[in-house]
Symmetry: C2
Subunit: 403 residues, 2 copies
């Protein structure tokens, strides 16, 4: 007996109104400006229902009417757009050498973008919680001063995160079994908004998919270029987390059995061969995490001057990176692999050798159509993805109370 | 501006009735026996609509009423089940050493299962088309004699297949740019039923996901253990083909830079290190493809007698296989990796070393919960998946005409 998992799905009608509010909200997100008649025609909801749903969403200040009218025969229709001026979604990323915070409105427009140096590799989890809570509180009070209600906070962490927001292991932060979500909720004194914790690469992939310049792409892999190397996997237009949420650990796949030791305890991992650490171990051995950004700038400066030692080093790291990209290309056949973090400033020297290696190692001719590019979001990707995850909850029907 | 791709989706209302017929058909597939009232309650369709849709499906002999009634208060309800007795879906697999054909009814019950030796590695594409057409014709006439209408034919091939059913490259068959679908349609003289061509590993993964004993698993990787090694990737309950349909080429990921040459022209690929060829190159060098099955039996016989040379060989191949499984586990975090084909009889000696290697190489503790098992479908997997793909079309709303 076949159990079919494909084909059309009827909606779950347990909460029809919440579902339909979300359907209308999403339709306007994707098609604004649009009229009530457009919504009815495209969703199959009847016009009276659409009017009632739209009234509710206007009431919640999630939609608003514009002065615009549709240019067509017959009675002119009032056009709708997303409002969301009274709302903000917050994303924070904590990493080995920095904390980033962003806030976006309901439309995804960036309201704020802060980056602070942070000694993630030496700070204790408790110190990290204090630092994240401090920056989150400052963002929340800024948003409150702007009369915005905070829809939620998501924190991005480079590690394996379980479904409850606990960090199972974060090798480069040195964390094991830290209840980050629980500790943050305490530090923020049980805030009214929901708090989530998620993997940095997963969130960055979501941000890249939504905010990046990739057009109709529905299969994308994002590779973080921080001290740690991880991937976020988008297939068929959705983040694919795997069975237990641990997908994307490309950084700890062996790409060179005789390669250097990795912080995870193995050897020749992609992260050890082609992470930022593999470059700085040669140019600035023993560098403090807090100096990372400065040292990467120094590498860029020397590469620009055609320093032969640096060019050879970047070529070799690019080839190592290409081995990892080839693994993703063979197994996942993405349309684009996006390199993030410190790979962005180093891209001009890494992309060509990485691409050559990827093409050589792909069974499908031309890498199966896989393009290799650097992120246009740079270090904001994970935090932006974290904020987008808050918007996802809203789009899925968890609407804020009327303001 | 965020374009949201998550959350609830309104149905496409361009062909509401076809969509709703498919929704009802799938509901009965998953919940039979069930009543019209059950369908209405769960799908949100109103009772009059459900009655009309059910009447149509009974008319097409896709559903039938049973004598059963629901045991409940009030008027007894007539129960519905899938009918499909007048239908058959056909799947054929062509591989290096055999052709397999299966037929299933609408419920997925196997009606027929044939396996024939076939010299795939030496036969020309034209000879393969003739052989596939011949077996397909014999299956079709058998089904016709049983008064079944053929819903479609899907052919599984170990290679990169494009969306039109042309084989881009099939390394172990020695094929390049063969218009297999076009040639087959000609050889079958424009049959009334649709003909599709798809990758063997993808189809086997679908079969394993549907027919295999994996319960609630929604993330599964199937690894073919034929002369070629390929994977089919199921994530979140659907086959994930990647951007151009070339996902799952795990067999040509380098797992040992100093490993043996691969048929694809590279070196140290998983297929070269841990494919069946890597075993037979040692036990039966120069074996003809047509003798493969016999030679694998011979390896099993010697392993059962604790032949130390064979045990060492299988341990080493198992470790190589584990490297590939670890790559899938790190990148995709499947709940189960299913080994198919000749890995099934060799499983008792391959699983333990492969699992040990996989656990050692996974960043997530315990391999991220990934279980390593052999297929219970053995060599039928790809052909069964091919037949299931025909049923998918029906479930997606491409219903057969009234018989």
């Amino acid at each position: 007996m076949i159990t079919s998992h494909n084909g059309p799905q009827p909606a779950d009608f347990t909460d029809v109104r919440a579902t339909n509010l979300a359907v209308v909200l999403r339709f306007v997100r994707e098609n604004a400006p649009c009229s009530r008649a457009d919504i009815a025609a495209s969703t199959g909801l009847n016009k009276a229902t659409v009017s009632s749903l739209v009234a509710d969403l206007i009431d919640r200040r999630l939609l608003r009417e514009t002065g615009l009218t549709e240019n067509r025969v017959g009675r002119p229709a009032t056009m709708l757009v997303l409002d969301g001026s009274p709302y903000a979604a917050i994303g924070v990323e904590v990493n080995v050498d920095y904390i980033t915070a962003v806030a976006v409105d309901l439309k995804g427009e960036e309201l704020l973008n802060w980056r602070r140096a942070f000694p993630g590799s030496t700070a204790s989890p408790g110190e990290a919680v204090t630092a994240v809570a401090a920056i989150a509180k400052r963002v929340v009070s800024r948003m409150t001063r702007e009369s915005r209600q905070v829809l939620g906070l998501t924190v991005a962490v480079p590690g394996l995160i379980d479904g409850d927001g606990a960090v199972h292991v974060a090798p480069n932060l040195g964390w094991h079994d830290v209840d980050l979500r629980g500790d943050l909720v305490k530090a923020l004194r049980d805030p009214a908004y929901p708090v989530l914790v998620d993997n940095d690469a997963n969130l960055a992939a979501v941000a890249e998919y939504r905010f990046g310049p990739h057009g109709d792409v529905s299969d994308l892999v994002y590779v973080t270029g921080e001290v740690g190397v991880g991937a976020g996997v988008v297939m068929d237009g959705r983040l694919r987390r795997g069975g237990h949420g641990y997908s994307g650990e490309i950084g700890h796949i062996e790409v060179d059995p005789s390669g250097p030791d990795c912080r995870c305890g193995r050897r020749g991992c992609l992260e050890a061969v082609a992470g930022i650490g593999a470059i700085l171990a040669r140019t600035a051995p023993g560098v403090s995490p807090i100096e990372l950004e400065h040292e990467v700038d120094e590498v860029v400066r020397r590469a620009r001057k055609d320093d032969p030692e640096i060019l050879a080093l970047l070529d070799s790291v690019g080839r190592g990176l290409g081995k990892g990209v080839a693994i993703a290309a063979n197994l996942l056949n993405p349309e684009v692999v996006v390199l993030g973090g410190y790979y962005v400033p180093l891209g001009p020297w890494l992309i060509a050798p990485a691409e050559e290696e990827m093409l050589r190692r792909s069974l499908a001719p031309g890498g199966g159509g896989c393009e290799l590019v650097v992120s246009t979001l740079a270090h904001r990707a994970a935090a932006l993805g974290a904020a987008a995850r808050v918007l996802d909850s809203v789009d899925s029907g968890r609407l804020p109370a009327r303001p």
